[in-house]
Every structure is written in C-alpha cells, then in structure tokens.
C-alpha cells in the first residue's frame, strides 16, 4: 500500500500567545522517502514535529495527510490515520514488560484480539531479539533495547507515515547506526518518514530530501546530494563561528 504524502503549508505554531516558534514553515514529505528536517537549536524542529503529531495545535497553516487536514486532530487520533510517532528520549512504559509494551502499541486493535496477536507476532518476528526479552520490564533494558521496543511498539498497527524525533539521542554509535539502518528498511517498505534530527551527518546519510529551518522559517532545502559536501561549514554557519 502506498503511503500518502504529508504536506505542511504556512505553518505557524508556538507555546505562548504572540510569540510563535514556527513562522510559516512549508514542507512536503513524499511516500517512500525519508524527509529530514535539520536546523540549529531553537529553529523549531521539535515544535514542528509536535504539531504534526497532534501534541500542539497550529496557530495558522495546514498539515495535510493526503487529502485530510490533520492539523487540529489530537495525538490519539493519528494512529487510526496510519501515523506512528517515535518521540525523542525514552518513551517505553517502564514497569510493563516488553511484551505488554508492544501489545499496547496495538491499542487501536483492542477489540480484535486475533488481529492484535498477528500484528504482535509479526513485529516479534521482525525483531527476534525482543522475543527473548519479552518478559523483562522495559525500564530494565539498555537504551538501545528500549529504542527497539519503541520502534516495535510503533510498528504494531503498521503505520504508513512515521514521525521520528532525534532517534539516536543517548544511544551508542553502534546502536544509533542500527536505528538509522532500520529507518532505511522502513523506507524501502514504502513508508513516508519525516525525520527531525540534530545528528546532521547521520540524518543526511539516510535522507532523500532535506529541509533546514532557521528561526522558525524555511532556510534552505534540497536533495541529499546538495548537502553531502562540507557539513562542517553548515554547522559552523548555524553556530555563527
């Protein structure tokens, strides 16, 4: 099934009235592609993802998934539209087992236990290491293992659009590489991926298209090839040194 594209137009959003963080962001995340959003601290990357994920209502502008305007929908309604979110930092249910965490990912299938069991089995087949850990409390696992649980939980309802916020924060380089590799595998399945990241080099390595935000607005954008040159110069530019 082809994932619908995500289109953001003229998006304004913020936390304090009169002080918007996003001031007219435009963006398109196409199906089967990883669209990366980069930018210095305070550029509005995480705010952008909060709006798209339904945790923050936009002040102006639109967030369209295919033909549906999802800008005003709360986060809990996104699952039914085929949107999955991998938030920044730890988001497992720490006192619950790995198995319970993954099953809770299928909340939208709660009235169809057979379908839920099949979806959980599919995820455990995809990540066989988690099967061995399934009775462990998620909070007792390493950072990388918890990330795997979060990815598995996100995939239970088989979302076609994935919103990913700084997936490598707090992970060892090896595990971070595994996470980015997994994002590539998910792209190969035709999913739309919107990746917001601080790790410029790793994000560009997997990107199909890159947007750079500056002070809540679109700054520059282009294909990966346009950003593969002097990354150091770009970062120095952000820092103003």
């Amino acid at each position: 099934m082809t994932a619908p594209p995500l289109r953001i137009a003229g998006l304004h959003a913020g936390y304090v009235p009169g002080h918007p963080i996003l001031r007219g962001v435009d963006l398109v995340a196409e199906a089967g592609r990883i669209t990366v959003v980069l930018g210095p601290n305070g550029a509005g990357k995480s705010t952008l993802l909060k709006v798209v994920a339904g945790f923050l209502a936009p002040l102006r502008g639109s967030v369209m998934l295919g033909d549906d305007d999802i800008g005003a929908l709360p986060a809990h309604r996104h699952v039914a539209l085929g949107i999955g979110l991998l938030p920044q930092g730890r988001s497992t249910f720490p006192d619950l087992t790995v198995e319970e965490n993954i099953e809770l990912g299928g909340w939208s299938m709660r009235n169809d236990r057979r379908r839920l069991a099949e979806a959980v089995e599919a995820v455990l087949t995809r990540y066989p290491h988690l099967r061995a850990l399934r009775r462990r409390a998620a909070g007792s696992l390493s950072g990388g293992q918890q990330r795997a649980v979060e990815i598995a939980r996100m995939l239970v309802p088989d979302p076609r659009v994935l919103l990913v916020d700084e997936p490598s924060v707090g992970l060892s380089p090896i595990v971070a590489r595994q996470v980015y590799q997994e994002l590539q595998a998910l792209r190969a399945e035709g999913r739309t991926i919107l990746l917001v990241d601080q790790d410029v080099r790793a994000a560009i390595a997997v990107a199909d298209y890159v947007y750079v935000l500056g002070s809540g607005r679109n700054d520059i954008e282009g294909d990966r090839s346009a950003f593969e040159g002097d990354l150091g110069a770009m970062v120095r530019g952000w820092l103003g040194v």
Binding site: P74, H76, F93, P94, E103, L104, Q145, A148
Partner: protein, 339 residues
C-alpha cells in the same frame, strides 16, 4: 470497553490463584458472620469504619493507583455527598438511605466540573490543586446559607439501639466494599485498566498509541467521585450531624492516600490491606500512647514504610512473585538488526 485487551498469558499456578481467592472468600464469610453474631459495639463500629475506608480507598485507587494521579482531595467529593443528603433531608425530609445515589450523582457532577480543567495538569501540580480545591469547598460550606455554615446540619438518628445502628452500617459498608472491590478488579482486567496503567507509565506515550487519555481520566474521575459521594451521603446518616470542618477534614483524604500507598496503589488488593493497617495502627497508638506523641510515632511508621517498603505490601508481593518466575534468556544486542 470492558473486554480484556492484552493477549492472555499464564501468570502462575491455577491452584495458587484458587487458594488466594479461597482465602479472600473465607475472610469475607468470617466478617459476615461477625456482623451477624458479634456483640461488641466497639469492634463493629471500628470494622464498619474500616469498610468505609476500603470503599473510599478503592475509589481513589482507580485514578490514583492505576492512573498515577495523586489526588489529595477525595474528601471534597465525600463532603459534597454528605451535604447533598444533609440538605435533601433538611429541606425535603428525604432519608439519606434513599438519597445516597443522588449524593453520588452530585459528587460526580462536581468531579467532572473540577476534573475537566485540573486533569490537564500532571504530577505535583495536580496534587496541589486537589488540596486547594478541598479548602475552597470547605470555606464555601462555611459561608453558604443552604449548608447552614459552621452550625452544620442535624439528621435524625435512626430509631434503633446503638449496636443495631452499627450492625446496619457494618453491612452497608461491607456490601459496598465488596461491590467496589469487584468494580476495581474488573477495571484492572479491562481496557480501561490498561489505559490507566499506560497513563501512569508515560502519558504522552499512551496518547501516541491511541489512548484517549483526557477522556479516560475524566470518566474514571467521575466514577471515583460518585463512589466518594455515595459514601459521604451514608456517612452523614451514620453520624447524624455534618459540619464543614469535620466533613471536609483533610485527614480523610490523607488517610485514603496512606491506605492506598501502604497496601499497594494500583492493586485491587491494596486498599483491603492498607485500610485496616492504617486504621488499626492509628487506633492502637491512640489508645496506648495517650499524648499527641502517638501522631509522631504514626508519622514515623509511615515514613519508614515509604522508605523500606516502596510499592506497599502488594508491591513486595508483586516483586516476590516476579523473582520466582524463571529468568528470561538475556540478549546483549539492542534488538534491532545489526548493521
């Protein structure tokens, strides 16, 4: 909504589970027998109070224990229930036994009105607001004409001997305790229970997986307030006099939280264990240590339990059960495919 969500798993021996249920049922039968044949007024009265607190603590347990929302204001809804039956008797001469359900409805409406804005707050902010609301409502009860201010409202004593009155409330509160415990058990084993646990563990993650966190909290809070209101209405009839300071006493809220925490918040068994421990220890200290030092000793016991028995009695039992399970095979890798 009450279908079991997660895939069923074998969680231990069936014999052990049956034995545990057998112990609870035997205890219930013993309590019912004592209610029928017991003749000591003090014991009947103390146990009736224990049952009343079991009901209140189970109600608190729904959002406080399973949902992780620390509510220090349950007495607000208990008091609203008590005043609803008091006012309905005062102005319409309706018996509190008849109007107790209305007391629950009034408390649930108040719970919704207060919960809709406050349940958007989390952690310490929510706990603080629940305390402030109690004091505000208490002041309101002191100032309003309909509540007769500090004078309070007298209700007619039941035309029965004291021991018959206590026996009656013994069974009323025992029956309610059984009903509400069954409700909490059902919630623990339902979708709502899992939604509450997910909210307690990580509310944003719960929202991400599709739980309607705000609506779940509102609904469960309304049920909690309904139960507290019914208990408050019956309490008014039991003591036959209500006034703002005693009816909205912060001690009642505090006792409920202590009972849940000591017994084990988030377990249906927790209030059944915590309520008698807290009440009986407090009563024993009151009798044996006559000065105010008994409060200091009680507080020290609570602090020691909080330090050394985190999760309460049921937390210890739960950890012991987990430790007995066979160790899972470990995996050093992240769980994701290697690069």
């Amino acid at each position: 909504m009450f279908s079991v969500f997660l895939i069923p798993k074998a969680t231990g021996s069936r014999t052990a589970a049956l034995a545990a249920w057998g112990v609870w049922l035997a205890l219930l039968a013993g309590l019912a027998a004592y209610g029928l044949f017991g003749t000591r007024l003090f014991v009947l009265s103390t146990l009736a109070t224990v049952f009343m607190y079991v009901v209140l603590t189970q109600a608190w347990n729904l959002l406080g224990g399973y949902g992780g929302y620390l509510n220090f204001g349950l007495v607000t809804f208990f008091g609203i229930g008590a005043y609803t039956t008091g006012i309905l008797f005062q102005y319409h001469e309706l018996s509190p036994f008849l109007t107790a359900p209305l007391a629950g409805v009034a408390a649930a409406i108040a719970g919704l009105a207060i919960g809709i804005p406050t349940l958007r707050l989390r952690g310490a902010y929510f706990a603080l607001v629940t305390m402030i609301v109690t004091f505000a409502v208490q002041i309101l009860a002191l100032d309003l004409t309909i509540t007769q201010g500090a004078l309070g409202i007298y209700l007619p004593a039941l035309p029965l001997k004291p021991i018959a009155v206590e026996r009656l409330f013994y069974f009323v509160f025992l029956g309610l305790a059984v009903l509400v415990t069954a409700l909490v058990w059902a919630v623990e084993h339902s979708n709502i229970g899992w939604a509450l646990v997910a909210i307690r563990e990580d509310e944003d993650a719960a929202e991400i997986v599709g739980v309607r966190t705000v609506e779940v909290k509102w609904a469960v809070n309304a049920v909690t307030c309904f139960i507290a209101g019914v208990v408050g209405g019956l309490y008014a009839q039991r003591i036959a006099y209500i006034e703002p300071t005693g009816t909205f006493a912060f001690d009642i809220s505090l006792n409920v939280v202590l009972m849940a925490v000591i017994g084990g918040a988030g377990f249906w068994q927790g209030p059944l264990i915590g309520a008698p421990i807290v009440l009986l220890v407090a009563d024993m200290l009151r009798v044996t240590v006559t000065s105010e030092v008994n409060r200091v000793i009680f507080s020290m016991i609570v602090i020691l339990i909080a330090l050394f028995v985190p999760g309460g009695v049921m937390g210890v039992v739960s950890r012991w059960r987990r430790a007995r399970q066979p160790k899972p095979e470990d995996a050093a890798a992240s769980g994701l495919p290697a690069p």
